[in-house]
């Protein structure tokens, strides 16, 4: 029985020989530069691979020592704390995605008002943050958060009428006392990333709103439904299924938002704004702890896999509800 299906499989493979020829070049390169590094990473994660092994790649096997070091915060780097980083990463992701979606939908709804002038111009201007490379915007915002010369404090000063000297990137304390684990730098990162991310959600929501016929709103108006009711009873439920995939994508993006965290706050002060991917980077550069970095990368991979599976399930569940 197995023999027969083997023959069939072989026959099929032979029949599609050409297909494999076409895939071969990219498969070889991907195997060399993606699959092989991942396997190599699994091996490295169980060794004490460090800078000296770059010349002589025969590190010692250390079992689960790297993982234990990570989970017990024994990694020899300043301010290393896996659990705080992980918790912060989750808070960071949800705060951002919530604001992205709220602002994005509110703007899309505003732009969807019938007979509103200048819609096209408004839309073009509002997607500008998306068009600027995130690397550049992060560096620009970092400069804007400078205590003495940054634009943010200067604007606040002119609004308040006295000199505002908010230590955005230097003070590890929390400005909002009921959220003691969120330093000033968190808010600087948050403002930057909200600025960066709301246009995407706005564009997705705009697309979703096109599919709602205007007649539904007119009918609701005749029935005496107010603006609020229209939004919560008609708009939100009808755009939800189109928004969910974008929200999932947003969650994964924000969870791995390296550029904003690394360039604006650098994970500091005192590691208060470190997320997993910036920590992973620092273990390699300047840390040079390749073995631990590999273990850390594997942990990040499984966390991401978990998030993807959970969000996938949530999306499916809510979809079947409708």
């Amino acid at each position: 029985m197995t023999d027969k299906s083997d023959v069939k499989l072989w026959e099929q493979i032979r029949r599609h020989k050409l297909a494999y020829y076409y895939i071969l070049p990219s498969a070889i390169v991907m195997a060399l530069i993606t699959a092989f590094p991942i396997l190599y990473q699994v091996w490295m994660a169980f060794t004490n691979f460090n800078i000296s092994n770059l010349r002589n790649p025969h590190p010692q096997f250390v079992g689960f020592a790297n993982f234990i070091k990570i989970f017990t915060n024994q990694v020899p780097l300043e301010n290393f704390n896996f659990w705080r980083t992980f918790a912060f990463n989750v808070v960071w992701t949800f705060a951002n995605v919530f604001l992205h979606v709220a602002i994005g939908i509110s703007l899309a709804v505003a732009l969807n008002a019938p007979r509103l002038a200048l819609k096209k111009v408004y839309r073009t201007l509002l997607v500008i943050p998306w068009a600027v490379p995130s690397y550049i915007s992060a560096l620009i915002w970092k400069n804007m958060f400078d205590v003495d010369f940054g634009a943010v404090n200067q604007i606040l000063s002119s609004i308040l009428g006295h000199a505002a000297k908010i230590p955005w990137l230097t003070n590890p304390n929390a400005p909002i006392k009921i959220l003691p684990f969120l330093s000033y730098a968190f808010y600087a990162d948050l403002i930057t990333n909200v600025w960066l991310g709301f246009p995407f959600m706005m564009v997705v929501a705009t697309g979703a709103l096109q599919s709602i016929p205007q007649e539904i709103y007119e009918a609701a108006e005749i029935d005496g439904v107010n603006e609020r009711g229209k939004f919560f009873k008609i708009t939100l439920p009808l755009i939800r299924s189109a928004m969910l995939p974008a929200i999932m994508l947003g969650i994964v993006w924000t969870f791995n938002q390296f550029n904003v965290i690394y360039l604006v706050s650098g994970g500091g002060p005192l590691g208060t704004t470190e997320i997993l991917v910036t920590q992973a980077y620092k273990i390699v550069n300047p840390g040079g702890l390749y073995g631990i970095a590999s273990a850390f990368g594997l942990i990040v991979f499984f966390i991401l896999l978990g998030i993807t599976l959970i969000t996938n399930r949530v999306t499916r569940a809510t979809e079947s509800e409708i």
Binding site: W195, A280, I283, G297
Partner: protein, 285 residues
């Protein structure tokens, strides 16, 4: 009459709300432009003015002649490195992806589903998570400290997306065209190079530009892998400027604008593709 006034009031409110967000959206852009016009001798400007006093293009001139204070690497060399890396990445990923995408689009062979899925899964790992093995392997191959090593590393990141993008386009090209060619005596290879590829030039161009933009803006791997200033790219130079305390902000601003302007122009040209690609990809999961 009354209805109209209500709508007008509502519109005033909406305009105000939208304009508020537009101001926020464009403020950093205006700020960076105004910053770049500052005289070079001002290390950090202390006042907010859209057109600063003694506005000058001095900063642009400075970064175009000597972008690196510490090393005499000319701008042209950095530009060449950036173009080489970005162009190489784009070419390599299009070359690798187009044949693979063709196979995935036209043949139903064993392993097709797993192959497509495998390309997606590799995309899930953020670059920093695979940084350690990539660094070690490229070092052992003696290409880590070269632009070629960088191209190989970038291509591995952009090939999966390129395959999906091209496969989606190949799917829309009617099969009958190839079948007719096969009947007329073409072989598969000719059908691919003479019919599918020329018909897919728009999709190939878009894929090429995506690869190019990735290579153009990436700084993190480059900063980790390259050590010789003569190999540095424009994006790395900007990151380095940020680190140097004595670089005037006007030069940083001018350099940012020079680097990002081409990317922004390409982005607005490709806007439709980017949006449809992302939302489609998201819907398909």
């Amino acid at each position: 009459m009354k209805r109209q006034t209500i709508e007008r009031l509502k519109h005033i409110y909406l305009h105000a709300y939208i304009i508020f967000w537009i101001l926020i959206a464009i403020f950093p852009v205006i700020w960076i432009v105004s910053m770049s016009l500052n005289p070079v001798n001002v290390l950090r400007p202390t006042t907010l003015q859209i057109i600063p006093k003694n506005a000058t293009l001095e900063a642009y001139k400075k970064v175009l002649t000597r972008p690196y204070e510490a090393y005499p690497v000319p701008f042209v060399k950095l530009l060449f490195n950036s173009l080489f890396v970005a162009g190489g990445t784009a070419l390599l990923s299009v070359a690798l992806a187009s044949t693979a995408a063709y196979a995935f689009s036209r043949f139903r062979f064993p392993g097709r589903e797993i192959g497509l899925l495998g390309f997606i899964v590799t995309q899930m790992l953020p670059a920093t998570a695979t940084l350690a093995p990539l660094f070690v392997i490229l070092t052992l191959l003696h290409i880590r400290n070269t632009l070629y090593g960088l191209i190989v590393a970038y291509a591995s990141g952009s090939v999966p997306f390129a395959i999906w993008n091209l496969k989606g386009y190949f799917d829309t090209v009617p099969k009958e065209l190839e079948e007719a060619a096969l009947v007329d005596g073409c072989d598969r290879h000719q059908a691919f190079t003479k019919i599918i590829l020329p018909l897919s030039i728009p999709a190939i161009a878009v894929t090429f530009l995506f690869g190019f933009m990735n290579g153009w803006m990436e700084w993190m791997l480059a900063w980790t892998f390259l050590t010789k200033p003569t190999n540095f790219t424009l994006a790395m130079t900007l990151y380095n400027m940020q680190g140097q305390w004595n670089t005037p902000w006007s030069q940083f601003a001018a350099f940012s604008i020079i680097i990002s302007l081409p990317v922004m122009v390409v982005w607005f040209l490709l806007q439709k593709y980017i949006i449809s690609g992302l939302t489609l990809g998201a819907v398909k999961g």
